[in-house]
């Protein structure tokens, strides 16, 4: 097997000991100082000052300070309620059950509000679907409520400019348009809400010439059609990843973006965790894909194929299974030999796990979806890991219906177009055609809360409420209905689109005299539809609203696969030899609908760790020795022209491991033109390359791509991959030996000295088959570390920590899938500032929690391990000793405390932190300082992000907003600790396990993070720590961290790879 020279690496630069990287890693703050940077820009020239100027400044500041000090302290106001709502106690948070719905994406959530202001999203543990898990997108949705680019009133649109008008005028204008005849078409992303559909039905009663077209930006139409063909129901079945011993996914990013990632991740992780080492069991996960997706990075085995070979791969696996089961086979197109061989082994594995395996595919091709469904049927998975009585409705889109609508619009037969939800002129494969066609419709109304490409091309905008201001419901699965309740009154005079429809239909169902007409409509609809069997509707409604959900008996749909595979086999994708490109959906941005959300823009992509943009993935070549070649000699951050069929777009390049040669990949949904400030022109717009295949299904790949040579350079290439590195190894220039570059000085003191160890204990990993060796290795190493650590000179404070609480954390690297929900949750909980692309480029990102991504194993097709890394709250913390003002010190509860008001910004602590988790406020990112004129501009905004009072409503009032010049870092969510303790004290009881949960822990969809009290012997934390696979990062340097990690274990069958 081909192994690179290193056990574990972060990038190709790391592998070849790139001198620039080593030089940068040697310094805590590798970037040049602000003054130098400004000097380079020429900004400093006009700021040059002489000695006289200096004295003038000195005198002025002294005088100003004196004057300012003698001024009166400004009068502050305290403004109480006039009539205080019973449910609100100022200073105490309320939680409301609701749901996060984004097209077909669904999550059951709790919304935390303070003084009636939503500030945080938590998962709802009552949901049998998502079980309390959340995603980065759901976590960030609270920020979009306070988006300054939200439309603040309805209006008419000319040339992309909105002229505000009143609702009365809009109603009149629209109803006049509706009355003129011509058919009325509504277009929307998947609608999960039964009541919204009832509203549409009511609208159609009044306007029988109206109809609805649903589409999904990243289409699953082929899957739906294949299900209809095979089982007679056009819906996504429920997949049970927890019940599968063997999981095979063809291009389905089910942990990141595919259909219901949180539900799947929750289930998937139960099969991946090792609770008992003695009788360890794990599912085995094969991913067949062309570029490394989030799901692929978590797989045990990745089988690499070209995008156009997916059909061939599916057919090959199908044939192997069909012939074993005696079913009819199909003619499989040609497939590369390596994949063929691997798939033969996959088939063996699948056949050994009949009824306990699962095959899924995200490819939007009918034949391929039919074959995959048939495979599950042949393997006996139907009714076991694939169930049909609890269908998922999370994808309902129909590519052909959308194409039909475009045809109708082009024919001029559509009189009114209403865009209920989504951005159809941009976010999908037919966006360009849609944009051209919609110009032929006389009345065009967009309901989006912010202006987007589609809205700008409409005649009217009728902005709808944000999700957190709306009443609604959602039925993501046949057996579950969820309620959405508003947690704040609409911030602007906007109106829910369902209400607008009902008003225009003059529906008798809508009581327009009511304060909240749609609320009444919703209740009525629920009373009709769901409350049968309940004795009192009021109590039924209140309990459902409290829980957020209602479970229904599942439908009794059958599970017999009646598909005739031979009839579709001809439409399998034919492999091509030309260079190909994949346009994938990114974990944070979706199809571009989240572009205006700075939290998601600044969340690093899990694999490439790039932020603020989409980047073209190019493959890395390897000579088998120590040299690595990059495609066309391109370096990270180079700009190139991407060309397909004469269309060309300039993009930035980033290297990608695990990319099939001859394949490129880039995220879709970027480069938006009409969106809030944060997302405007971020990344490159590749929507024009999206296309539909001959069968009418949206395709996410293209063939015949050419990449030009370097045409320029992204001057602010923002990739955090090499920022805050803590274990980069490199060659010692004097000896040529490989050592840790950041420990170079220590190493010269002598061999055996702690800290000079070449293989530092950052990641422990192993394979399920050799679990005992791993256990032994960890045991041996830890024993050695602890023996050394016990020889300390300084007294221990263990007896202090043994009293009261001692906070600690456990992170299971086997459960962590790298999705980033925790990073965004942390930003929301702790008021972590957004810094913008330029500042990230300067290594100034502020995230308290980063997810380190390491590659290991085979060079050309490596495995990945994700390591959430935050302050380790060392009980022997190196940062504390070096602070000259003791701004960082240790609490009796084992917390490494950071007192911002004491910090003078020497940054010694960050320099001395071996984990590189401290973040310094180089600039006034939060605009907490007084003089706005001095603000840096993020993304060229006129007003820095976060300076607006609207945006500031998202701040957590229990956490200090840090000013310029102070250090900050993970606090173990100390505000939650204090709150949990206070509640326990108020109730006069001991603190129970689970009373205090950190924000990252509650956000995690896979329960990879456990936070708790080490002194509570009954706690889940202590239970987790008993595993022999638990270790501490850099235990050898005797920092005594409070965060523990559990080793990464794969379930690889090594013989498969030979």
């Amino acid at each position: 097997m081909k192994q690179p020279s290193k056990e574990m690496w972060v990038s190709a630069q790391d592998l070849r000991n790139d001198p620039e990287l080593l030089a940068a890693a040697n310094r805590e703050f590798p970037e040049s100082s602000i003054v130098e940077d400004l000097g380079k820009e020429g900004t400093m020239d006009r700021l040059e000052s002489s000695r006289r100027d200096f004295l003038k400044f000195l005198g002025f500041s002294l005088g100003a300070a004196t004057v300012a000090a003698s001024c009166e302290i400004p009068v502050k106001k305290a403004i109480p309620y006039v009539i205080k709502p019973d449910s609100i106690v100022p200073g105490v948070a309320n939680y409301y059950a609701s749901a996060y719905v984004d097209g077909g994406d669904f999550l059951s959530v709790l919304v935390k509000t303070r003084e009636g202001r939503p500030i945080k999203i938590e998962g709802n543990a009552l949901s049998p679907m998502t079980k309390g898990g959340t995603s980065a997108r759901a976590q960030a949705s609270v920020l979009s409520l306070y988006d300054t680019s939200r439309l603040q009133s309805p209006g008419s649109v000319t040339d992309g400019q909105v002229t505000p008008m009143s609702w009365e005028d809009l109603d009149k204008a629209v109803m006049a348009g509706l009355a003129t005849g011509g058919s009325i078409r509504m277009v929307s992303r998947t609608i999960l809400s039964p009541t919204a559909k009832a509203a549409i039905a009511a609208f159609r009663e009044k306007y029988p010439n109206a109809s609805l077209v649903q589409y999904d930006p990243v289409s699953c139409a082929a899957l739906l059609d294949a299900q209809e063909m095979s089982y007679g129901v056009r819906a996504v079945p429920s997949y049970h990843f927890d019940k599968a011993d063997v999981i095979v996914s063809f291009d389905a990013d089910f942990l990141g973006t595919w259909i219901s990632p949180v539900e799947y991740a929750k289930a998937y992780s139960t099969g991946r965790k090792i609770s008992d080492v003695k009788s360890a069991r794990m599912s085995r996960h094969y991913q067949v894909e062309s570029f490394m997706s989030l799901t692929g990075s978590n797989a045990d085995h990745r089988v690499m194929v070209k995008p156009s070979e997916q059909g061939a791969a599916i057919a090959t696996l199908y044939n192997a299974i069909a012939s074993a089961k005696g079913a009819s086979t199909v003619t499989a197109p040609a497939l590369n030999d390596k994949a063929k061989k691997a798939l033969a082994n996959v088939a063996k594995d699948l056949l050994n796990a009949q009824g306990k395996s699962l095959v899924v595919t995200g490819v939007n091709n009918l034949a391929e979806q039919v074959l995959v469904a048939k495979m599950n049927a042949l393997l006996g998975n139907d009714g076991a890991t694939v169930t049909f009585n609890d269908h998922s409705y999370q994808r309902q889109g129909d590519d052909k219906a959308l194409a039909g609508l475009i045809q109708e619009m082009n024919a001029g037969s559509v009189g009114t177009l209403m865009v209920l939800d989504g951005n159809p002129a941009f976010d999908n494969a037919q966006g360009k055609a849609f944009m051209e066609a919609m110009a032929k419709v006389p009345t065009r109304i967009a309901f989006g809360g912010t202006l987007d490409e589609t809205g700008a091309a409409c005649t009217h905008v009728a902005p709808t409420t944000h999700l957190l201001e709306s009443w609604g419901d959602a039925q993501p699965k046949a057996d579950q209905v969820y309620l959405i309740q508003p947690t704040i009154a609409p911030l602007f005079p906007v109106r829910q689109w369902e209400e607008s429809l009902l008003r225009w239909a003059q529906s008798p169902e809508l009581d327009t005299t009511s304060d909240q007409p749609y609320y009444e409509f919703l209740k009525k609809n629920w009373e009709r539809t769901f409350s049968s069997g309940a004795s009192s509707f009021t109590s039924f409604w209140e309990s459902t609203l409290h829980d957020g959900l209602l479970t229904l008996p599942g439908s009794a749909a059958g599970g017999t696969n009646n598909a005739d595979v031979s009839s579709v086999a001809s439409s399998l994708t034919k492999p091509s030899t030309a260079d190909e490109i994949v346009f994938f959906e990114s974990v944070n941005m979706g199809a571009g609908q989240h572009a205006g959300n700075p939290w998601l823009q600044e969340m690093p992509d899990p694999i490439t760790r790039c932020v603020w943009g989409n980047y073209l993935y190019v493959p890395i070549g390897w000579d088998g020795g120590n040299d690595y070649t990059f495609f066309q000699g391109l370096e990270d951050g180079d700009r190139v022209n991407l060309e397909i069929d004469g269309q060309s777009v300039e993009v930035t390049v980033v290297h990608q491991f695990g990319l099939m040669p001859g394949t490129f990949a880039i995220a879709q949904g970027y480069g938006r033109k009409v969106v809030g400030k944060a997302g405007r022109n971020i990344g490159s717009d590749v929507q024009g390359f999206l296309n539909t295949n001959p069968a009418g299904y949206a395709s996410s790949m293209a063939s015949g791509v050419t990449i030009s040579s370097r045409v320029g350079r992204d001057k602010e290439f923002a990739c955090v991959q090499h920022h805050h590195t803590m274990g980069v190894t490199g060659a010692d220039p004097s000896t040529g030996k490989t050592i840790n570059v950041d420990e170079k000085t220590v190493a010269t003191i002598g061999a055996g000295f702690q800290g000079s160890l070449v293989d530092r204990s950052i990641i422990f990993r192993g394979n399920l088959a050799e679990l005992e060796q791993l256990e032994e290795k960890i045991h041996h190493k830890r024993e050695e570390f602890q023996a050394l650590n016990d020889k300390g000179l300084y007294p221990s404070y263990d007896d202090v920590y043994k009293m009261g609480h001692h906070w600690g954390m456990h992170i299971d690297l086997n459960a962590c899938i790298g999705c980033g929900a925790c990073t965004v949750a942390c930003m929301a909980e702790n008021n972590v500032p957004v810094v913008g692309k330029r500042e990230v480029f300067r290594h100034h990102e502020m995230a308290w929690l980063r997810i380190d991504r390491y590659f290991y194993g085979e060079m050309e097709n490596p495995n990945v391990v994700y390591q959430p890394m935050m302050c380790q709250h060392c009980d022997n913390a190196p940062c504390e000793n070096v602070c000259p003002v003791s701004a960082t010190n240790h609490s009796s509860e084992g917390l490494n405390q950071m007192a911002y008001n004491r910090c003078i910004g020497t940054r010694y602590c960050a320099n001395n932190c071996p984990y590189k988790v401290r973040r310094f406020n180089w600039l006034d990112y939060t605009t907490a300082d007084l003089f706005p004129a001095n603000e840096p501009r993020l993304n060229g905004e006129e007003m820095p992000f976060g300076a607006d009072n609207l945006t500031r409503m998202v701040l957590n009032p229990d956490v200090t907003v840090r000013a310029r010049g102070v250090m900050e870092k993970c606090s173990f969510c100390v505000q939650r600790i204090q709150e949990g303790k206070l509640t326990a004290k108020k109730e006069g009881r001991a603190l129970r396990d689970g009373d205090v949960k950190s924000a990252c822990m509650t956000a995690c969809p896979t329960d990879a993070i456990t936070f708790g009290d080490l002194n509570n012997t009954e706690s889940q934390l202590n239970n987790d720590l008993e595993s022999p696979l638990v270790y501490q990062v850099l235990e050898e340097v005797n920092t005594r961290p409070s965060v523990n990690y559990r080793a990464r274990v794969l379930n690889r069958e090594e013989s498969l790879e030979s």
Binding site: I73, A78, P90, G91, V92, S891, S892, A899, A984, G988
Partner: protein, 468 residues
């Protein structure tokens, strides 16, 4: 000395515990009276026959006969009884315009029994003569002023220094004379005072003193001890907390359960002031401001519909009428005289000035109080921790607010002040199950190795208890 104090204090606490036990251990009309005054009298009429903010309590036991448990539950938390769907409770709630009664979760069965006994006694007229229950004397620490002693001491020391300098000078002189130098000078007082060493010392002392004062003043920048702003409404804590002995937490109801003590919403005022429509000191002048804030018409005793949409003139008409009517009634006039007209106009102008500001030109809506206690943004303070768990008296930090006509900031609210208290305050360690995890301290307390556990001992002076 210490032992003696200890003995006295333990004896005192023993007595206190015993009396508390006695009081709470049985049902008594006297105890009921105290409890009624402290808890109920703000809303329920003392004659038990007339309605006030809350219903007349006379005959309450008959009304709830057979359902005493529910009645007790109602008193502790009426919301739960209403939620349970008891028809009488729901009816009562609706009759009283859905205004919830304050919950009293801490009352014991015996205490409630005592209150009910007292209610019954007053209602049936069997309650004895007014037993004199003098207000509990607040024990005050005598505050000794040491400045004078220090001054005298400093003077004495200076005098001694001078005398010693003189003696040294004389001895030196004598020594020199004895050594044969008969012309040796003998330093005068003046020479001693102007000698280099004295001047150097004085300069040094001045620098130290000056530095000390500068640093101290610099540290106290932004502190607002004794800050006493005028408020938009001349609300008198003397009247409310002092004379009428309304519990602080009746209005500041956040203190027991939240980080904020909460400035009461205007509807809290209305609980009582629906009945008491004229103030004892200012008559209609101040109370009308509350009515105008919430939109309550005191003439008709009704909340005004669509108050939000009303113009200033319409509002003016309503409240001027109220002020005028009262003026006429008070002065026993037939019509408003010129003096009265001016008084009404002044009152109205004052009302408008108090309830509006540049940013908020509307009369209706919240009252903008001037915030007195301001902590910096990087300080986290939680009232519930101190009030509910620490059982700290409000007065300890806020001073005797019940004696303040206009509230002022009593404490410095400096970090040193906080820390000092945390160092000295004993944690009620045995009262709360929560503290059980501090096993070592419990053992030390039991073995007598430790006298008490202070807040500091359990980490109360660590940075991240207040800064995060």
């Amino acid at each position: 000395m210490v032992n003696k104090q200890l003995i006295i204090s333990s004896l005192l606490s023993l007595v206190f515990v015993l009396t508390a036990f006695v009081v709470s251990a049985e049902v008594s009309v006297d105890a009921g009276k105290q409890l009624f005054k402290a808890n109920c009298a703000q809303c329920h009429n003392r004659n038990m026959k007339d309605n006030l903010t809350g219903p007349a309590l006379g005959g309450v036991q008959e009304r709830w006969a057979g359902r005493e448990e529910l009645l007790y539950g109602w008193i502790r938390n009426s919301q739960s009884v209403i939620a349970s769907g008891d028809p009488y409770a729901v009816d009562l709630y609706n009759t009283w315009n859905k205004v919830l009664m304050n919950p009293f979760p801490n009352l014991t069965d015996d205490e409630i029994g005592s209150i009910l006994a007292y209610v019954d006694a007053v209602y049936t007229g069997t309650e004895g003569g007014a037993a004199a229950a003098g207000p509990v004397a607040v024990v005050e620490q005598p505050k000794t002023n040491y400045t004078l002693i220090y001054g005298v001491l400093a003077l004495l020391l200076a005098l001694i220094a001078l005398i010693l300098a003189r003696i040294v000078g004389n001895l030196d002189h004598m020594n020199k004379v004895a050594g044969g130098d008969l012309d040796a000078p003998r330093p005068s007082f003046r020479e001693i005072l102007t000698s280099k060493s004295v001047i150097a010392f004085v300069i040094f002392a001045l620098i130290v003193l000056g530095g000390y004062t500068t640093v101290n003043n610099a540290i106290s920048f932004g502190r607002q001890q004794n800050y006493q702003p005028e408020q938009p409404i001349k609300f008198s804590h003397v009247t409310h907390a002092g004379v009428h002995k309304i519990d602080c937490q009746y209005c500041h109801d956040g203190a027991r359960r939240s980080k904020h003590s909460v400035i009461p919403a205007a509807n809290t005022c209305m609980n009582c002031h629906k009945a008491i429509k004229k103030g004892s000191t200012y008559g209609t002048a101040e109370l009308t401001k509350i009515f105008a804030s919430v939109g309550y018409d005191p003439t008709t005793d009704k909340y005004i519909e669509n108050y939000d949409a009303m113009s200033t003139e319409e509002i003016e008409a309503i409240y001027k009428k109220w002020i005028t009517d009262n003026y006429i009634a008070d002065k026993e006039l037939a019509t408003l005289d010129a003096k009265g007209e001016k008084a009404v106009k002044d009152q109205w102008n004052n009302l408008v000035a108090s309830l509006t500001s540049e940013n908020d030109p509307k009369i209706g809506g919240p009252i903008e109080w001037n915030r007195i206690h301001n902590l910096p943004d990087h300080v986290y303070f939680n009232h519930a921790q101190h009030v509910t768990i620490g059982k700290v008296d409000c007065q300890q930090c806020h001073g005797k607010v019940e004696e303040m006509e206009v509230v002022r900031q009593y404490a410095t609210l400096s970090m040193g002040w906080c820390i000092n208290c945390h160092r000295e305050t004993e944690v009620k360690f045995n009262d709360n199950e929560y503290y059980k995890s501090y096993e070592k301290y419990h053992q030390e307390l039991a073995s007598g190795k430790r006298e008490k556990v202070t807040v500091e001992d359990i980490g109360g002076t660590e940075c991240q208890k207040c800064h995060y």
